[in-house]
Amino acid sequence: MKFLLANLLFLIWASSAFAQVSALRVLDRTTGEPVIQAHIKSDEQTVIATTGTDGYFTINRDDYPVIIVTAVGYQSREFVLRAGMETLYMNPEIYRIETGLLVLANREGENNVQAYQQQHHAQNMDQFLDKIDGLSTNKRGAFAWEPVIRGESDQRMNLMIDGMQVFKACVDKMDPITSYVETSNLSELHIDKSGSDVASSGGGSSSINLVTRGAEPESFSMNVSTGYRLPDNYRSLSVAGNTSDRTGRHAVRFSGSYKKADDFVSGNGSQIDNSQYEKLNLNVSYRHRLPSNHTIEANYITDKAYDVGYPALLMDATKALADIGQLRFNFAPTDKSWRVETVQIYANAIRHTMDDYSRDVENREVMGGMHMPMFGETFTAGTRVNGQAGISRHSFEWFLDGYYSRAYGDMEMNSHDPNIEDMFIYNLQDVNTWQGNIGMKHRFMISDDLLLKAEQNIALKNLDTGSERFASFFEGLYNRGLNTRPNILLSASGNLLWMPFDDWSFSGSLVYSERMGNHMERFGHYIYNYTDGYFYDGNPWLKTERAINTDLNTTWETDSHSISLSLFHKQYFNYIDGILSEGTGNIGLDFKRYANVGDATITGGEFRSLNRLGPRLSIENRVSYLYARNQTLDEPLPLIPPLKGFSTMHLHHKGNRLMGEVEWAAAQHRIAETASIEDATRAFAVLNLTWERDWLNGSLTSILQANNLLDRHYHTHTSIGNIPEAGRSVMVSLSYAF
């Protein structure tokens, strides 16, 4: 008996000894420091180990060929464990070489090429986004640039704050929601260019999710920053602080910023009238950890912008107000196969008031001789729940998402002619949107170096107006009765990741998406489109627009070098665009209606490289290109940026950092002659220099920044109305942290 027991114990010991139990180490990619308390999870999201103070953990590679590593402050990352692998590098969620930000290519970070952006607290979010490859911005002045992902803007992309749906209130697109989050308040930036993240962000649209910084269970810390720029007298002051009690159960974070700028000056010394702005942003976040380790987070953002000039538009914003609140309950990690991880409820209200009282309306070509004050507002409330589920031996992530949104917009027209009665129009009257989504995300490890991800999303969406009178306008316009019904929208994606070597990966994704027209395309009325000069009416009977996106990426990444190439092609069916209205005999006004106009394509790619040539020198290059075509009109789509890029050189020495950046774009001659009034744009290149220096052991940072050093006069192709960019500017910033 003793012999048998001894043999059994020996077999158990031997089996464990010969199993591939090995120690691995998790390190911070940027600092090389060990990542402490990182959770090592199976691909079913069960925690199987935790790193120690030296960053090490042990694991049986046979049992867990694929692991997911998560850690506070780092981007979650999935690893295929190979023989000989000893170190796992983690990328910080927010990459801060003092003021730098790491932009994540996608949520999982498989294509985790770092796009280093020299980012300052004083820089606006839209300026920051404009420098990310694959992104551009449609500009209407110095403020609130509208982000565009691979040529898709507005209704074809999903802009979110902390996953919340927030809808702009201005029918003229003056208030993209990116303006409501300050860069100093940004924790993560999730950019899904291909739309493959269909399960969580829904719909298969490309998306930007601005993840704000929440309260952290840390001791008291504070940061005060201020900046001043010439010649537009831009001045800013921002304050952020975080504190918690000794147990870390209660934590509070507060941030506030104030910015004000006068009219900016273009490269030829011309002052651009009506380009001023003033903005106040406040954010309060509270986090409470329960004894059960569940956490409750409450977050409130209020953003107030006043006297915002839009030189490209007919009018300026006198007041843009946003109130955005959310409550989030984070369940403590468990190893149950069916579990809820996060429950979030939110509500937000956006109000936008604008007028043309400071404009010369008498000599205006469009609707001259009158003032046109406008008002718009949206209210949105929703909830998001996500978790894990397991059926048999397969586990997957699930997402539930639902929201309701109400939109309103009106415009007065007060003629200077006393014989003309005041006019009034509803651009949007009691327009309601309901949407509910169910999404699932699956992972299948096909082999040691091949991972397949599959995501599905089913959405039920309805749009209507609560005003019978407003509905009757569309009934009269299209001569049919309005009977709105919910649409079922399907989207799915498949993503194949092949990692033949540790430092080289290939991936490809295929995304199918369906989109119904948004509230402006369906129920917008008399809405001026600055890209083509037409007034638009919605069409409640639009068919679902469908799209198939294919995306290929290859990435080579070592500790010092990173090179990535992405190519994509997107084919639209039932593309929604404006067509000319007939027979309305207008004078000085042109009208279009939204319709399914046929098919369209967007093809393009991005190249990124980062090379660290030593401890003090790194070079970064980014290039992107888009080729877009309206196949029905046989012409390019409008507002597509040309070949463009950035080349940046970073020099680090002791407490000094020097960055030189060349921003360039080729000429754009591919213009939409039929569908827009855009024109060709010349090539340009501008030089920017930044010098940063740390003082007081790094507590105090000074930044001297000179943009457009050669004072070039130019405009980007996506500048509506060809409003020129700012000429040479010099800015001094100070940031003190304690």
Binding site: E362, R364, V366, M367, G368, G369, M370, M413, S415, H416, D417, N419, I420, E421, D422, M423, F424, I425, Y426, R469, F470, A471, S472, F473, E475, G476, L477, N479, H525, Y526, T584, G585, N586, I587, G588, L589, F591
Partner: protein
């Protein structure tokens, strides 16, 4: 036992609430008329009070008239009411297009009819509506009620080369509002001072337009009215905004196309 007592109490309470809610504390026969009318005029004939009411003060164009007969405060149902609107211009008198009263579908205590006044009261003359009421007891009441008619934008006229006049009445919407409006016109002509027959099977071409000032202006979606019979023509106009609109009307009667006439009016936002 306690549960039964509570259940019984709740049931009794529910029944009481249901009973109270079901009771109609008002007697429908005694309720005030649903119509919101203003009194245009009234006269007393024998012991009967004959009242003429309308939804608003009378104006040129179409007006819905409501007749009520009372005796000693009690409503009296007549067998027949016949009326004749007359304009006394001193040197001449004439009538106007009108219908004879019938039991009002909105409220059977009234008789109602439409009258299209082709001119306003004033220095040119004054309007009165003559009536003859046959009661159920075959007693006949006669008389007239003087009425004031204001001018409005809802009526216009046009003459052909033979000086034949056509009256074009904007029947509805009485108050145009933003959105789609069903458009109704009445067209009458004049055969004599007392005869204004409806014009049937004519063609109406319309064109709505808004002058926004500053050289800007636009039309909107519309359908030209088509004959529905009895001089009534129906189409639609889809107003995109509030403000002052004009709608031109070109009438073709027989083979004759008459000169364009214009309605100018204000559209309200709703």
């Amino acid at each position: 036992m306690t549960f039964l007592r509570w259940a019984g109490t709740l049931t009794a309470f529910a029944l009481l609430v249901f009973t109270l809610a079901s009771c109609d504390v008002t007697n429908s026969s005694d309720s005030e008329p649903e119509l919101d009318l203003v009194t245009i005029g009234s006269v007393t004939s024998d012991d009967y009070k004959i009242s003429l009411e309308s939804e608003s003060t009378l104006e040129t164009g179409a007006n819905q008239l409501y007749w009520k007969i009372e005796r000693g405060g009690d409503l009296v149902t007549p067998e027949l009411i016949t009326i004749t609107p007359m304009m006394d211009m001193g040197n001449m008198m004439h009538s106007t297009p009108y219908q004879q009263p019938e039991v009002a579908p909105e409220d059977d205590r009234y008789y109602s009819n439409m009258a299209i006044f082709i001119m306003a009261s004033g220095s040119m003359g004054s309007w009165a509506i003559e009536f003859e009421i046959t009661l159920l007891n075959q007693e006949i009441l006669t008389g007239e009620i003087p009425v004031e008619v204001d001018s409005s934008w809802r009526l216009t006229s046009v003459r052909d080369d033979n000086d034949k006049i056509y009256f074009i009445t904007w029947l509805h919407p009485k108050q145009p509002v933003t959105g789609n409006n069903t458009l109704g016109f009445m067209v009458h002509t004049r055969e004599s001072m007392m005869s204004f027959p409806p014009v049937e099977n004519a063609e109406l071409e319309i064109y709505p337009y808004m002058d926004m000032g500053g050289g800007s202006g636009h039309s909107t979606e519309f359908t030209s009215p088509e004959a529905e019979g009895s001089g009534y023509y129906e189409g639609s106009i889809n107003y995109s905004m509030s403000g002052t609109w004009t709608t031109s009307v070109t009438l073709t009667a027989g083979d004759i196309t008459l000169p364009e006439v214009m309605f100018e009016y204000s559209v309200q936002a709703q």
